[in-house]
Amino acid sequence: MTAPLVRVEDLTVAFGAGNEPVVGGVSFEVAPGECFAIVGESGSGKSVTARTLLGLAGAGARVDATTLELHGKSVLGNRDRDWRQIRGREIGFVLQDALVSLDPLRTVGREIAETLRLHRYGSRSKRRERVLELLTSVGVPEPELRARQLPHELSGGQRQRALIASAIALDPPLLIADEPTTALDVTIQAQILDLLAAMKDRGSGLILISHDLSVVSRLADRVAVMRDGLLVEQGPVADVLTAPSHPYTRTLLDAIPAAHRKGTRLSATALPPTDPALIRPPSDDLLLEANNLVKRFRGPDGVERTAVADVSFSIGVGETLGIVGESGSGKTTTAQLALALLEPDEGTVQLGGTVWSEATEAARRPRRRQISVIYQDPLGSFDPRWTVRRIVEDAVPAELYPDGAARRQRAARLLVDVGLAEEHLDRRPLLLSGGQRQRVAIARALAPEPSLIVCDEPVSALDVTIQAQVLDLLADLQERLGLSYLFISHDLGVIHHVADRVLVMREGRVVETGTAAEIFGAPRDPYTRQLLASLPLAEPEPVSGGPA
């Protein structure tokens, strides 16, 4: 059997003197033509492990291992000059987002040619030829034009392909891809995964770093799960994803929303009993109605673009309407129109049966209590100078709690309701974790006791286990308080888990609408079908309960 591409035994990496190693004793091998995936949440050490193979673990990293071999040759003692021979020629490295991983100030062609120039590949004209050849091989149309352009002038997908081209310029036997598709929309994600799969079939080894199990399940042959610097489990994809031996892997799998219908619990968290005063009897009259909404924007270059074109929908009490679509599909603008933070050019919005978008801001202000909002980046929505306690207190309406002490007491109660401990209350949000911050945002949203909460990508910035906890919290609150949600996400799995009815949007238009079962079970519109196809849901049968 030929020597493995990579052999790593008992690799440890530590930063700075004395503190915990980031990677504590990892061993694995990668054979040519094989895709070895390393999965784990942020901070698990997966990225550092892969980068050690390139000698790029990071400034001040102390790396040691019993064996660290590329093609049977040890790289432990490598000095910078030795590493420079390996990088680009032996190993290609693809990062997450080509917009910042390609130098924005240099043309795409020059970036790709750089690898060739560094390793003295032929003459200038030969290099230009090779660049065009590479761009075609990764599927970029009109290579001559694209090579002369700057990265920001290409589309997301084309940029990522160009980035891959720059990594495989010298046909390195091993390619390391660190979150190669995380920055892309679902449909383009699938194309890139196919491109990587094709390279694997051509015989080059591939190390895939990802936090997204669905991406891993499509591409990897063998997978390793890392947690806090330790490799907890390793083995063929089929076994690990269907019959995980380590409990942590199981929690990871359970936390994937895509695999579980609405109503199933994603995390083991339980919610403390809710304040009885909040519970509201369910009723089936309509809460929010939007008819034929149109919104146009004038871009910086003076060209007018239509962000939302003829969108209509309605949300009943206690119901969750999911809006799914890729970036630029107009879902956020729709949310802004629902919140009446933007005036529609055409069409109207009614809240609780009465005029909402046409009302004057002064008339709307007292009724704003009925509708709250949660953002994707909670930190940005808090005043940096305020503590958690003050943020929520500020949201408790004076009409409901005229007395200051009652307001303070109410805010504290709300923060406990969303699962935050006493010690967090007097701290600034900057020092809290992503999940904790989202809980504060939810508490603030609950403060005015709204009947509808608009959630704009509330969980897409969170790790999957934390995402699971937040989604469960939202589900519990809906059930107890009879809240309605307008839930916006690009992540089909999340929408599938939370939504009663779904709106699929593309470039400002509604391509399809229907109940979750209809959309996910029998999608009519080709675009919806294409979105669903890229969802790995259909692949290996998840453990607990198949699709509805």
């Binding site: 995380t182 509708i371 709250s372």
Partner: protein
């Protein structure tokens, strides 16, 4: 989407043990600057505590003495003790530095907020006006005011303030617009808060934050500006002990009595340096804590 890996990293570190950011390593430079500034402020407030002599006492027989135990910084052409004059000079230099910056900041806030919060029309008008004032060289405006109102401390403060106000106003406008479009202002609007409440509770305090750093650095630049005007003979008239005027008086002794030029120069550079170092340090602390 690009955020989540970075976000993840932050959550991991925060999750581990969320504690206040470790104190910025207290570099010696910051200590030195703080001590020096305190000294200068003390000079300005209680000069008599630092020297028994008066800045106006001349001693014709002791003219142009080199620095010695008796005269730490030596004596000037009229035999006056330069150390005493530097001490007494602190007051007028600081007065002009702080006065001019304060005046410039007030103007900056007025114009900045008017442009930032006003409608498109007011913003357009104020911005164009600021662009025009910025196009005129700062020193020119100062010179014109001095020609109009005659030299003196009050004119110098006004002249220096005018020179820097437009720049500050431009920054304030940018900051106000950034805060107005921030997430927390949108959230507050969604909560149904009135516009005035949002301005008072969110826009004003957050727009003011970088001004603190601007102000500290501004004092340094104003002191340099004021002394330049005195150097051109347009500032405070002798025998008043003002650092710029002392440098102007010492110009002819530059190759024979170096101490005449050295010590007032060091005082100015010291002040400007100290203020800039503290300014940048403040910036890091504020940026670090409230990023």
């Amino acid at each position: 989407m690009t955020v989540n890996v970075a976000e993840g990293l932050v959550t991991r570190t925060a999750l581990a043990a969320p504690k206040a950011k470790s104190g910025i390593a207290f570099r010696p430079a910051v200590w030195l600057s703080a001590v020096f500034l305190l000294l200068v402020v003390a000079w300005a407030v209680v000069p008599d505590a630092f020297t028994s002599e008066s800045p106006f006492d001349t001693d014709v027989d002791a003219a142009i003495q080199a620095p010695s135990l008796q005269y730490w910084f030596g004596t000037d052409a009229s035999g006056r003790d330069i150390y005493t004059r530097v001490v007494f000079g602190a007051r007028s230099s600081l007065l002009i530095g702080v006065g001019a910056t304060a005046l410039a900041l007030v103007a900056a806030i007025l114009f900045g907020f008017a442009a930032g919060l006003g409608g498109r029309l007011t913003d357009g008008a104020v911005s164009r006006f600021l662009e025009v004032v910025l196009a005129l060289p700062g020193l020119l405006l100062a010179l014109i005011f001095i020609a109009m109102l005659g030299p003196g401390v009050a004119t110098e403060i006004l002249a220096v303030a005018i020179g820097s106000a437009a720049g500050y106003a431009w920054m304030v406008r940018g900051q106000v617009i950034a805060v107005r479009n921030s997430g927390y202002v949108h959230a507050a609007t969604a909560l149904g808060h009135t516009r005035s409440r949002i301005i008072v509770r969110h826009v004003f305090p957050n727009a003011m934050r970088p001004l603190v750093v601007l102000a500290t650095m501004g004092v340094g630049q104003s002191i340099v500006w004021a002394s330049s005007l005195s150097f051109l003979g347009l500032g405070v008239a002798p025998p008043a002990p003002e650092w710029g005027a002392m440098l102007d008086a010492g110009r002819d002794f530059v190759s024979t009595a170096w101490w005449l030029e050295l010590f007032p120069g060091l005082a100015i550079v010291g002040c400007t340096l100290a203020v800039t170092v503290l300014g940048r340090h403040l910036q890091q602390r504020i940026e670090g804590r409230l990023a």
